[in-house]
């Protein structure tokens, strides 16, 4: 198992380097191939009606006039060893992984991303707990009570959940429970350490909105998995051995049905940690999703590069965790 994890971690590093190279090429190389020179690239960071000296100063400061491999090498060096930035009055050290310097904000990228992470982590983790427990529970009960009113109702609801986009359910929930009946007024992120109750209260609507979409998907997946598993021969054997029904369902049925759920959960959670873009935007939460939108709006390449790599990192790590969990959930994997 240890060898497996180490091997995967090495692959993770390799994969991140490839992601960084592709992203770097997309944003730094392709504009040049399209005919833009470094002066034109610098122009977009110099505000309105730039003077030539201003553009040249930015071009030099950002090193845009250097060969691409030099720029990429500098980026990698900052990622591994950190970098010093001149703020004018002092030299500031940005510890690894520095992710470069934001053209637009005149600040290192990594601290900016770190400040956005608590929002996204709070949002993703809370929603994940709701959708995983809710979705799996509904899926199991629906499968066991196949054809009943509960099954039909919950699957109908699940279909609605999968069909309705977050920007719709989010706006409806805000309109009803924040604006019209201010049960959750002024949804704003408050740090969990500064006020845990307010933190939870302000995240209830985003959690439920986000979880509604995913829970619906998980309920349908669980139901399908359970139906298939419960008709397997070994379930009949377990029952024939006289095992209690609870044990049959949970230890034999659900455990096997969970394998695909764990896979997709890892992917979903990993992707969300990289920024729940639509949910954050709908509820004006300033997490990594909003950070990403802003970075794209501003064409702030180091920020875009940073958030892309972070999202890739989360997904890769989530997959690693999933693979490890496989071994726990499904004994066949261990062998």
């Amino acid at each position: 198992m240890v060898t497996f994890i180490v091997r995967r971690l090495i692959a993770t590093v390799f994969l991140l380097i490839v992601v960084s190279m592709i992203t770097f090429a997309v944003f730094f190389l392709i504009p040049r191939l399209a005919g833009q020179n470094s002066y034109q690239l610098a122009t977009q960071y110099v505000g309105r009606n730039p003077t030539r000296p201003a553009v040249l100063a930015i071009e030099q400061k950002l090193g845009l006039n250097e060969p691409i491999y030099v720029q990429y090498g500098r980026f990698l060096r900052g990622l591994i060893f950190g970098e010093h930035y001149n703020s004018g009055t002092s030299s500031n050290y940005c510890p690894p992984p520095c992710f470069g310097y934001s053209f637009r904000n005149q600040q290192p990228v990594w601290p900016l991303m770190v400040s956005s992470m608590p929002v996204t982590i709070s949002l993703a983790a809370g929603a994940a707990i709701i959708w995983l427990t809710g979705g799996v529970a509904i899926g199991v009960v629906s499968a066991l009570r196949r054809g009943t009113f509960f099954d039909r109702f919950s699957m109908g609801l699940a279909l609605a959940g999968v069909s309705l986009p977050i920007f719709f359910t989010g706006l409806i929930s805000l309109a009803l429970f924040s604006y019209k009946w201010p049960i959750f007024p002024n949804v704003t992120y408050v740090g969990i350490t500064s006020n845990p109750l307010l933190w939870a209260r302000n995240l209830v609507l985003p959690w439920i909105t986000l979880a509604f979409l995913y829970a619906a998907l998980y309920a349908r997946l669980t139901r399908a998995g359970m139906l298939e598993t419960m008709s397997e021969d070994y379930i009949r054997t377990a029952r024939a051995k006289g095992l209690p029904e609870r044990t049959v369902i949970v230890r034999h049925g659900l455990r096997a049905a969970l394998t695909p759920i764990v896979t997709i959960f890892g992917m979903d959670l990993g992707a969300l940690l990289g920024g729940a873009v639509i949910t954050e935007h709908t509820f004006s939460l300033q997490g990594l999703g909003q950070f990403t939108i802003l970075a794209i709006d501003n064409q702030d390449l180091p920020e875009i590069l940073g958030v892309t790599m972070l999202a890739a990192f989360f997904i890769i790590i989530a997959n690693l965790v999933v693979d490890v969990l496989y071994a726990v959930v499904d004994p066949r994997v261990r062998h």
Partner: protein, 584 residues
Amino acid sequence: MGLAAFGTVAALTLAACSSSSSSGGGAGAPTTTSGFNSAVTGIVNPSNKKSNGTVSFGLSSTPDSTDPGNTYYAFMWNFTRLYTMPLMTFKSCPGACGLQVVPDLATGPGVVSNNGLTWTYHIQPNVHFEDGTLVTSADVKYAIERTFDRSLYPLGPAYYTFLLGGNAKTYPGPYKDRAKNLMGLTAIQTPNPTTIVFTLAAPFADFNYVAAIPQSSPVPPAKDTGANYQLHPVSVGPYMFQSYQLNKQLTLVPNPHWSAATDPNAKQLVGKITVTMNMNANDIDSRLLAGVLSVDAAGTGVQAAARARILSSTSLKAQSDNPISGFLWFAYINTKVAPLNNVNCRKAILYAANHTNYQTAYGGPYAGGAIATTVAPPNVIGHKNFDIYGFLSHKNGDPTAAKAALTACGHPSGFTTGIAYRSDRPKEVAAATALQAALNTVGIKTTLHGYPAGTYYGNFAGVPKYTDQHGIGIAFGGWAPDWPDGYGFFYYISDGAAISPAGNTNISQLNDPLVNRLLTQFGTQTNAAVRNGYTAQIDMQIMKDAAILPGVYAKSLLYRNPNLTNVFVQPYYGMYNYSTLGLK
């Protein structure tokens, strides 16, 4: 050198105000309690009542910078008045009164020498920073010096580099070789702690306007933190930074060392001011209407959903204002790309355009604006109304006149050209499509070229070589002046000297000797009445040249939170004045 930030710096308003002697939030200006447009013409809920409450701003974007030396956004120039005091400012009052440039940190307007080359300001002797330190003229000099380091502060205007003499063209700012360059800008002298003297390279009559830009607000050299100064600028205004999470949340609290006596254009009435940034624009509107949020900081008006609600409700409409923002939405016509290098071909475009569809594309009369017949909006000082192409009498276009113009230019059956626009701006996309359809009716075939807004001026429409090579004859744009006179409005979009190889804003590449000469005279003429007389002449000449197709004088629908006091539209910004707001 007048420069405006399209999409950012706004100005002016149409509404005339009877008051011309108000100060301190417009005492003497008409006052009212509510009603549609009441904050355009008067002050709604005037009050000096102090409150411990919070005025909360919501912002769907982020500031370009909170550093007064590095900002060019209109709402930030408005907002910085809460923590800065430039030498000059715009009088805090609604209507035409608010277009006046008045002393702020200075004791009076600049005194110009006979040769027009030196401007002397005396600053108030008893203004303090938030830490209690006395403000001196050296702090003003340093504030301007630091803006010369364009690698650290690339976003603010560069007027001082252009205008000042001495070593201004080569001065690197106070950070490089600090021992040598700190206070090393020779064109600014501070003979004593309350006097500052600017030496210009050439006479420039609008210098008081330049001194009203936040860049002249003092910065204490010892407290300057360079690129990090944006996180906590040292305040001299009524409020100071308590905390700032970059691009997320800003909290201001009262500055204990501020005095109303030295800053009559601002007020300190509430216990806290917050700005939540990067919010969903529709969420901002909903919170405004629910009373949870006090002000939409961007000041560009509500979104379509809220607009429909407001305009269909008598009570909500009474809580709204529809000022002219100061922007002109328009299309440049490239005078260098054949066949548009022939003035008659350009005129054909002006005649053929459908102005009603143009207006609709930008959001209609409330959110889009009024059909423009001139280049300068009506509230630029010296503006005169004229309509030489009959836009208002032929709102859907004048095909007959267009075809006559086409015949005169030697292309009776039309020609082909390209239209550039910002593809991520839906209104501009709609306007480009509408113009394409209108031109098609007279045989002018166009191809649409959409570009990202972020690189529009830097890499595409603002690069003459690119537009000429790609046959782009028409390019959409927007414009508002940095100060509300003709020079401020016209220089960058119409002077031949303003054409630059990248980031160009004279996309028409207009190089008309008459326009150039009038702008040169504008810059040197110290008699304001004569100077402002040039405005209509320049405007008329640009229209005769058919170098610009005016679209709409932009308007925005603002919602006024009923709990706010001292609410009025500051005409120079085209949005509510943020420096005087209080709570009931």
